[in-house]
Symmetry: C2
Subunit: 218 residues, 2 copies
DNA sequence: TAATATTATTAGGTTACCCTAATTACTAAA
DNA sequence: TTTAGTAATTAGGGTAACCTAATAATATTA
């Protein structure tokens, strides 16, 4: 139906729209896709012709509804396969991204719906990212970055905004795990590091950089 | 590493070599790949350059050892994914081919080895085709076509040589299933149809065409 | 072995996606 | 509001796979 390249452009456009809002700069796409700007211009024209994006020269681009549907479908695939890799094949959450990048392009509705069922209709992937449903509805995440909270507040660690293996690996060693109930004990003034108390009374301190990558639902 | 197209050429070459022996005709490849002969010549030259096939103009082509390794790896992937689709996602054996054609190109050793383990190291796919091991060793099948056997002989129905959904569907309805113990009661002279007795004393008659598509291990 | 039929290759062209270098369009500062 | 700086586009090419039409090589049969 669509080429892998097209699908990757759509996914990138979707994610950039999520973060920075509507018209997405050609250079932003070029950066995340690892190609040069003229290639993006080229591709956007072809995709506009297929009604997957709307594009006005030098004004940026955005997904059409059709394009959004495709993008969300791919994200659904990606996240369900990640759950499969972690839950069934016992990969670490820091190992699954590249594999899911390939598996997400497998084009079969029935397959992904059966996979969804097989996995027990999970709501989120191993990093806490919400899994769109079969109709393209994306659950709204209600979580905020730890770095936006104040001492005394508590919540549940439900996701990460940094998916790098290095960071995920660090978390594995830190003792923090998805689903942990946390309370903010204090914030160190001079370096903005956060000291947290976990459910089991365990105390963990994380840097501001880390606090900026942890999603907490309150 | 290799493009999907290359991988499909390698797989086709492997299968044609299995059936007809060594140098494979350009036209044979064109036929099974659904492309025209000049495209094959073109591609073979590129692949010869990469040492995946050996090719002499107008003399046909064959896999190099390197090419064979890649081909067998893809066949391993394909068959393991088919097992997954049937055993875990509960697809019918007549439904899984197209999906596996996509999944077979997922390029990750660790993934397929874990899948293998997850599935309990199956020896054969849902159609009875042997699954190559992680070192590229393909188990030798010892089965023969039903149509080569004589009345009185018995064996086990272990595979099919026709993978079309239509045929597989017919088998589902006929009452014959992979693993069934059978005995040949008689062969009708004028149409060469076979009458079989199954383990449970059930009697089944199949046409010569069908007898030519059933693999029996004696 | 010459003539014919078949099969394969070359020649020349297309499309998708990518590139670099040159140019144009926007944006922000003076 | 002109100017400088940044971002985006056009121009011109490349490669992988494909195609059709024309030619060459092999195989078959008279």
């Amino acid at each position: 139906m669509h080429s892998f390249t097209e699908e990757n452009y759509l996914k990138a456009l979707y994610k950039l729209q999520e973060i920075n809002g509507d018209p997405v700069a050609t250079s932003a796409l070029a950066l995340v896709l690892g190609v040069h700007a003229p290639s993006v211009t080229d591709m956007l024209k072809r995709m506009a012709h297929k009604k997957l994006v709307s594009y006005q020269k030098s004004k940026g681009s955005r997904l059409t509804e059709k394009g959004r549907q495709v993008a969300v479908g791919i994200i659904r695939n990606h996240r369900l396969w990640e759950v499969f890799l972690v839950e069934k094949l016992e990969f670490g959450w820091d190992q699954v991204h590249e594999m899911a990048e390939q598996l997400e392009h497998i084009n079969d509705e029935e397959l992904v719906n059966r996979l969804d069922k097989y996995l027990g209709f999970p709501k989120a992937d191993p990093h806490g990212d919400p899994i769109p449903d079969a109709n393209g509805v994306v659950p709204k995440s209600r979580s905020v970055l730890l770095a936006t909270l104040e001492p005394g507040q508590d919540g549940i660690f439900t996701g990460v905004s940094d998916h790098s293996p290095a960071f995920l690996n660090y978390l594995d060693k830190s003792g923090l795990a998805l689903g942990d109930k946390i309370r903010i004990k204090s914030i160190e003034e001079f370096d903005l590091s956060y000291t947290l108390q976990l459910k089991g009374k365990k105390i963990v301190t994380v840097s501001h950089k880390v606090a900026n990558s942890l999603l907490i639902s309150t």
